[in-house]
């Protein structure tokens, strides 16, 4: 049997997990979070929202179906490192193009396997997310511990700036198998497809594919784009994308959103975009103990009473008590009653904390894209009108 190098995962509280190195033979550091999705590791690895984090997968077999051409959420993996109970080096699936281990090495992502991931998860659940160093190179625990403790906190760091695109681009790729529960062309009476400007704070391809599949013309803009940059596209709608880390330091985007709100252009916020929208309206955000990272979070739509099983990935959250009166709490998480969405009472603006594009996760919430389309339809031609369009 092949022998693999030993690796250490050293957490800031002094806990050390000894395992085998896999992926790239590099040292890495970041905040450790756990994800409870049983499938979808490729989407998770390539989700820009994981910038700054080492992800521990709670499901023990990871890599079973390898890497596919269809399932990346960005051009490269963003996680700082991967922690698994057992990495599969002999994947099996008709879509598989390479083994996960090869993919990790090719992309310089270090990983560790053979540790008690459930013990780590229980630790994170109790202590909250922890900073850690994952190293196959350094075996000195005191040194690793010092490195872990020297890591900057996620709070106060603007990571969107790191992961966003450098310049604007158009997106056309659609979902391979169409989009369930979303009408292919909701905006039927339009002459041209609705033009959506996406502010990229670390956008997942899944969101762009959903928009394209719904018949939208999609332009992606860097996080630091100004309101003027956005408005120069004359968009029918604006999508504030997901992204990594703390929304507070992304003040430039909060300013942009404030300006955009004045234009009454329909706006849809997802995850970090939802938090930025909240901040722009005067709400406060705070850090959750260990965040929501998984594909099984029940969310209730307060208007219909229906429950959606949602995909989630965030550590920060809007304090619902801080929402201004014009922002109505629209969705709550049934596990911990946290804010999962709100809509604006006067403006064509709504947002959710979870991921309607899922990937990875159940497709229960894709109907939100239809809602965005409807909103754009209703407001087409009325965008610059003098009066607020109450819905």
């Amino acid at each position: 049997m092949a022998r693999y190098a030993d690796a250490l995962l050293t957490l800031e509280d002094g806990t050390v997990f000894r395992g085998r190195s896999c992926g790239a033979l590099l040292e890495t550091a970041g905040e450790v979070v756990f994800n409870t999705s049983m499938t979808g590791y490729q989407e998770i690895l390539t989700d820009p929202s994981y910038k700054g984090q080492i992800v521990c997968m709670t499901y023990p077999h990871i890599g079973n179906y390898g890497i596919t051409r269809e399932d990346s959420e960005s051009a490269r993996p963003w996680v700082e490192g991967l922690v698994v109970r057992e990495l599969c080096r002999t994947p099996s699936n008709w879509q598989s193009t390479e083994a996960l281990d090869v993919f990790l090495r090719r992309n310089g992502i270090p990983a560790i396997e053979g540790i008690d991931t459930r013990a780590l998860t229980r630790l994170l659940r109790t202590r909250g997310s922890l900073r850690a160093v994952l190293s196959p190179l350094d075996s000195s625990v005191p040194r690793l511990l010092a490195k872990a403790r020297a890591l900057p906190s996620m709070t106060g760091r603007d990571l969107a700036r790191v992961v966003t695109c450098r310049r604007p681009y158009a997106w056309t790729e659609t979902l391979p198998a169409g989009i369930f529960s979303l009408p292919p062309q909701a905006a039927s009476d339009r002459e041209a497809p609705p033009h959506v400007a996406v502010l990229d704070f670390g956008v997942k391809y899944g969101i762009l594919r959903c928009l394209a599949s719904a018949g939208c013309r999609v332009t992606v803009l860097p996080a630091a784009a100004t309101a003027e940059d956005v408005l120069s596209l004359s968009p029918d709608g604006i999508l504030l994308s997901n992204g990594p880390g703390d929304p507070e330091p992304v003040q430039y985007a909060v300013q942009t959103v404030r300006r955009l709100l004045e234009t009454r252009v329909p706006m849809f916020g997802i995850c970090l975009g939802h938090q930025l929208l909240g901040l722009a309206l005067g709400a406060k955000t705070y850090k959750l103990k260990f965040g929501h990272h998984g594909a099984n979070h029940p969310v209730r739509d307060l208007e219909t009473g229906k429950v959606e099983i949602t995909a989630q990935n965030h550590n920060f959250c809007i304090d619902p008590a801080s929402l201004p009166p014009q922002a109505r709490l629209s969705h709550i998480n049934l596990n911990d009653q946290t804010c999962e969405g709100f809509s604006h009472a006067q403006l064509p603006v709504f947002s959710v904390q979870y991921h309607p594009e899922a990937s990875a996760g159940p497709h229960d919430s894709r109907h939100l894209l239809s809602r965005f389309l409807r909103l754009m339809d209703e407001h087409s031609g009325k965008i610059t009108g003098p009066h607020a369009q109450a819905r």
């Binding site: 049997m1 756990f34 409870t36 999705s37 049983m38 499938t39 979808g40 490729q42 989407e43 709670t58 499901y59 023990p60 077999h61 079973n64 179906y65 596919t68 269809e70 399932d71 109970r85 057992e86 599969c88 002999t90 994947p91 099996s92 699936n93 008709w94 879509q95 008690d116 991931t117 459930r118 013990a119 998860t121 229980r122 659940r125 391979p176 198998a177 369930f180 529960s181 998984g294 594909a295 099984n296 979070h297 029940p298 209730r300 009473g305 229906k306 429950v307 099983i309 049934l334 596990n335 899922a358 990937s359 990875a360 996760g361 159940p362 497709h363 229960d364």
Partner: protein, 1088 residues
């Protein structure tokens, strides 16, 4: 919306006797469902004919009807109870079919009863293949291309259109009975004919073959708000072509990307919505082409199922309980997740381990030990074991050692390092044809140099699974060649190797490996099953072992702590009855303030519900696994007498390892099993036994047989369920028996007993506290001695015993129980021949009849025994009236009937003998024997015909006895048919019968008559001396056409009493609670 206030009383339908395809899982779901409805304040009426269930305990439902599950009896109960609703989704296919029948007959409408859980339209759209197909096409979902046919001509046309191979599926049958795969036109015609027979609606689906495709199941729930969750995904290791009940399956799905999985989930959601399953649990099956990913929907079961029980055990999510609550109006988000208590039931469990389920087969009971029967789409397994591990490798090995088939884990079929050409050919055949031992042949192949792609191509099992298996094989090879150190031992354990396996690999004993592990600190940790992959804190007392470092099971310091060993996978001879006893024992001990630890590996059962005991360890029942739990929990002792032979076999090894065994001492158990010592004891007690001897060789056997006189009963010592037990009539046959059975006997001896022909057999269940003995019940078999007690119908109280015989039986039971120092349960079998009482065997443990006796008398024997085991006295437990008066006097009669699985096993003669073959039992209970007997027959699915034509053909010994039966039938207006010999015999005695040709002598012969459906009853007793081919064909045809066939003269007499009663009076249904209230004693146990 909160629960519905317009309903007050709900009727729940159970699934009846245990049959292949419908086992304990419906007791588990039914029990959960009833508890859930009671919790909501509804009055619950239960109808189920199976007394061996927890759900029929009279404390559970408000009214418990142990009555036949037929539309007639259901209507009686409905008319009497006037419920507002009927919940048919907890009782398997039986309950669904009954719901359809009751709707179609207008019964529900007439009595104003609403179907809840599944509407009629949802049931029929899911069950009727043609409707199903059109609904799926309307969504649209992809299906295998198919055609529904109603005759053979259409079948030919369909074959031209769809090509071969074709799957033949009858509508509305359980577990795919009567289905199969046809590879050519002859096979198609044969399969279609039997499928048409099997389908109650006479519709058969012919389908494009998806054999070899990947097979998946989703266990889903939906509420009236259209909230939808997937509780668990299951991937079948054995691909399409093998019934899922016969497949090795794993949870969750292993080889799908998230997108592929979520698209399947989307399909399931749309399918369930289109079928109209509004509230409850549902099973959706898919096949996926491994090359292209094309996904087709196979079927939907709009009810809880075997797979949903598995999913519940695999995730910790109580599907049946939640389904019951959804049926009365709740939505998923209104119900809490039982495990986290803080989060709602509207979520999808995340698991952080791998669950593997393996089927257990019983082919040796029907075809002899060497035959391997190919598996197909008709289910044939009789039980299953489940194991939880952190990896597939670990859980596979744990599951295989849980099977109790003599394998300590995943072992190979015996083969040399280098295979001969013939061996290679055999191996390749074994890989290509799915069979009960294929998994072990795979190891042989991997060890002999076959690669993952080759094995995967041959078996069509996904390379991922074979790759995982390959890792086990590679590690095993490295273990053979390098010294065992701490690290490799740890690695071996986390790959699931048992100590026994390692001992076999390295030489030495299991104990040595255990010692080594202890020295090196290589010990398992116990992890919690919590539905959420540790995301939330959970207190569920549900654990599994693994070799990861962190242990989560923090045992209490409680001194009053007892471990109860369960009975493992169901098999013929050890089934639900033992789980019933285990659950009762646990309940009784909890009542007494004991902390109870349950160890079992059968996912179907109530005992593996984490609610049943204080702490559940879902673990294999082996010495290694039990000792590890012992070391952690340190209970006061272990109770081995409730789980059947499985824990009993562990008693001595556990004792040797220093574990205190509570109740009857293992030494006594051993005496009762050891023929020599037991015979000596009985001699001392002056209890007669049939003349007998013990043989090791053929010559010895013949000497003994000559001494005791033929016929003799021959059997290997220490076997279960009459395995390889046979009545032998002469010396050549005896020699043949010895030659054939030295393998089943192993190194053991063959016991030879004089066979007491035509004796009456009696079974006694008793409880002793070491000082006093309570005779729980004396049962008289309807069939004569020589038919395995598990296959024999019996009556309680006894029907023909004289008071003297009864008191002798009681006295012998007392004497034996006290002499063996029994503390707890004992079952003794007697034979009464020419007025003399002989003791046949004694088993100091719970028996199969414990639940039957407990239901009939109202005194729960297993509870009584459990309390006695921890020190209570019978005197203080029993109602005053019973302390001195046992057996308890009954003002009514109960008859136990059996169900047999012959239909599942083509080519097998459906006759009874000393080897047990039945899978389950029913109970008929009424004012007198005959009424109770009629009910037991109806409940077993062999209802007596009130009129019609009967065919009679009996062996010479039975001719005198048949005369009165024939005359009686004639008098009742039956037309008699007989072959020439029997006809002449009857004619000589003035009874006229129509002549029928013997098979082959001319047309129409008896098989033709059967096929024309012109017979309603067959009386055919097989000759005991040699197999009779004609008799076989008659019995087999009757079986396949569902025509009542009586193969035993004693049963025939009872049947005729029954038929005449049927014509004279109407039967009625009465609940157990009312029957028990009529007893001359109180059934509530006295508080301690």
């Amino acid at each position: 919306m909160p629960k519905r206030a317009d309903l007050q009383k709900i009727i729940v339908v159970g699934s009846g006797p245990i049959v292949i395809g419908q086992a304990c899982e419906f007791d588990y779901s039914g029990t959960q469902g009833i508890k859930a409805l009671k919790e909501e304040g509804y009055s619950v009426v239960l109808v189920n004919s199976n007394p061996a269930t927890i759900m029929t305990d009279p404390q559970l439902a408000d009214r418990t009807y142990i009555e036949p599950l037929t539309p007639e009896f259901l209507e009686m109960v409905i008319a009497r109870e006037k419920p507002q609703a009927l919940l048919p989704t907890l009782g398997g296919q039986t309950a669904l079919n009954l719901a359809v029948a009751l709707s179609e007959r207008g019964v529900l409408e007439r009595h104003g009863v609403e179907l809840i859980g599944a509407k009629l339209s949802a049931i029929t759209q899911a069950e009727d293949r043609q409707l199903f197909k059109s609904v799926m096409q309307s969504i649209p979902l992809d299906l295998p291309r198919s055609r529904v046919i109603t005759g053979l001509g259409e079948a030919r046309g369909a074959a031209r259109e769809l090509g071969f191979p074709l799957v033949v599926r009858p509508s509305f049958t359980l577990g795919g009975t009567g289905g199969g795969v046809a590879y050519h036109i002859q096979e198609l015609i044969a399969r279609t004919s039997s499928a048409l027979e099997a389908s109650p609606s006479k519709k058969v689906l012919l389908e494009e073959s998806v054999i070899g495709w990947k097979e998946y199941e989703l266990e889903v729930m939906r509420d009236w708000r259209d909230n939808f969750v997937v509780i668990c995904s299951i991937e079948n290791v054995d691909p399409m072509g093998v019934h899922t009940g016969d497949s090795i399956t794993v949870a969750p799905a292993q080889t799908l990307t998230d997108r592929q999985y979520q698209e399947m989930r989307d399909d399931a959601r749309r399918a369930v919505r289109a079928i109209g399953v509004e509230t409850g649990g549902c099973n959706v099956q898919f096949a996926v082409d491994p090359k292209t990913g094309r996904r087709v929907i196979i079927e939907i079961n709009p009810r809880v199922s075997r797979s949903s029980a598995l999913a519940s055990k695999a995730t910790g999510f109580p599907i049946a309980k939640i389904a019951a609550k959804l049926a009365v109006g709740y939505s998923l988000d209104e119900l809490p997740n039982d495990i986290t208590r803080k989060t709602p039931a509207a979520f999808e469990p995340a698991i952080d381990y791998v669950v593997t389920k393996v089927p257990r087969f019983a082919f040796e009971k029907f075809y002899g030990a060497d035959e391997d029967v190919p598996l197909d789409t008709s289910m044939k397994s009789v039980g299953e074991a489940m194991a939880i591990g952190r990896t597939f490798k670990e859980s596979l090995q744990k599951a295989l050692r849980s099977l109790e088939i003599g394998r300590p884990g995943w072992t190979a079929q015996p083969a040399g390092r280098k295979l001969s050409a013939a061996q290679k050919a055999q191996l390749e055949r074994k890989l290509t044809t799915p069979g009960s031992e294929r998994i072990f042949w795979i190891k042989t192949a991997l060890q002999s140099g076959y690669g993952v792609p080759e094995v995967s191509t041959a078996t069509r099992i996904d390379p991922w699974f074979i790759g995982q298996m390959r890792e086990i094989v590679d590690f095993e090879a490295s273990l053979r060649s390098t010294p065992l150190d701490r690290e490799s031992l740890r690695r071996a354990k986390s790959l699931g190797f048992s100590d026994r396996q390692l001992a076999a690999l390295r030489g030495g004993t299991e104990a040595k490996i255990r010692e080594l592990r202890k020295r090196w600190g290589v010990r398992p940790a116990f992890k919690r099953v919590d539905t959420c992959a540790a995301e939330f804190d959970a207190q569920t007392p549900y654990f599994y072992s693994t070799y990861d470092p962190e242990n989560e099971a923090r045992p209490s310091r409680q001194k009053k702590k007892v471990m109860i060993l369960g009975s493992g996978p169901n098999r013929i001879g050890q089934g639900i009855e033992f789980d019933y006893s285990c659950v009762h024992a646990v309940t009784a001990l909890r009542e007494m303030g004991y902390e109870t630890l349950m160890v079992n590996c059968n996912p179907e059962t109530v005992s593996t519900d984490y609610d049943a005991s204080d702490r559940l360890y879902f673990e294999p029942l082996t010495i290694e696994d039990i000792l590890e739990i012992m070391d952690l929990e340190k209970p006061a002792g272990v109770i081995v007498q409730f789980g059947g032979q499985t824990p009993l076999n562990l008693a001595l090894p556990l004792l040797r390892a220093g574990v205190p065994i509570l109740g009857t001492a293992p030494k006594s158990i051993d005496i009762a099993e050891d023929r020599r010592r037991f015979a000596a004891l009985l001699k001392q007690l002056r209890i007669p036994v049939p003349p007998h001897g013990i043989a090791r060789t053929s010559a010895q056997a013949c000497r003994i047989a000559r001494r005791v006189g033929f016929p003799v009963i021959a059997r290997p010592s220490y076997v279960l369920g009459g395995r390889a037990m046979e009545i032998v009539y002469d010396e050549p046959a005896l020699k043949q028996y010895i030659a054939a059975n030295t393998r089943a006997a192993g190194r053991r001896e063959i016991l030879i007993d004089r066979f007491l022909a035509d004796a009456t057999e009696v079974d006694v269940d008793a409880v002793s506290d070491g000082k006093a003995v309570y005779i729980g019940g004396v049962m008289e078999h309807i069939e004569e001695a020589g038919i395995h007690s598990g296959d024999s119908a019996c009556t309680l109280p006894p029907r023909t015993l004289t008071p003297e015989q009864l008191s002798t039986v009681v006295e012998y039971t007392r004497r034996t129980a006290l002499a063996l120092r029994v503390v707890g349960l004992i079952n003794i079998q007697f034979a009464i021949k020419d007025g003399a009482v002989y003791l046949l065997e004694a088993n100091p443990r719970a028996s199969r009849t414990v639940p039957f006796v407990s239901k009939a008398t109202g005194i729960p024997l297993a509870k009584l025994a459990a309390k006695v085991i921890v020190g209570a006295r019978l005197k203080s437990l029993l109602p005053k009236a019973l302390v001195s008066a046992s057996p308890p006097p009954l003002p009514y009669a109960a008859v136990k009937g059996v169900v047999l699985p012959f239909l599942r096993f083509p080519g097998v003669d459906p006759t009874l003998g000393p080897e047990m073959k039945s899978t389950g039992e029913v109970m008929g209970i009424d004012t007198d024997f005959v009424r109770a007997f009629i009910k037991s027959q109806a409940a077993a699915g062999t209802a007596l015909p009130p009129a019609g034509s009967v065919f009679i053909s009996v062996r010479d010994e039975d001719k005198p006895a048949i005369l009165s039966a024939a005359a009686h039938l004639k008098h009742l207006g039956f037309t008699l048919h007989a072959t020439h010999n029997t006809r002449d015999f009857l004619a000589r005695h003035g009874i006229e019968a129509r002549p029928v040709f013997k098979i082959g002598d001319g047309k129409p012969d008896v098989v033709d008559l059967l096929k024309q459906k012109s017979l309603s009853l067959v009386i055919n007793t097989p000759s005991g001396r040699r197999a009779r081919k004609d008799g076989y064909r008659i019995r087999r045809t009757a079986l396949e056409l569902n025509i009542n066939c009586i193969t035993n003269i004693h049963a025939c007499e009872m049947a005729i009493h029954g038929i005449s009663m049927l014509r004279d009076s109407k039967l009625s249904a009465r609940p157990l609670q009312e029957l028990h209230a009529s007893l001359p004693y109180s059934v509530s146990m006295r508080p301690l």
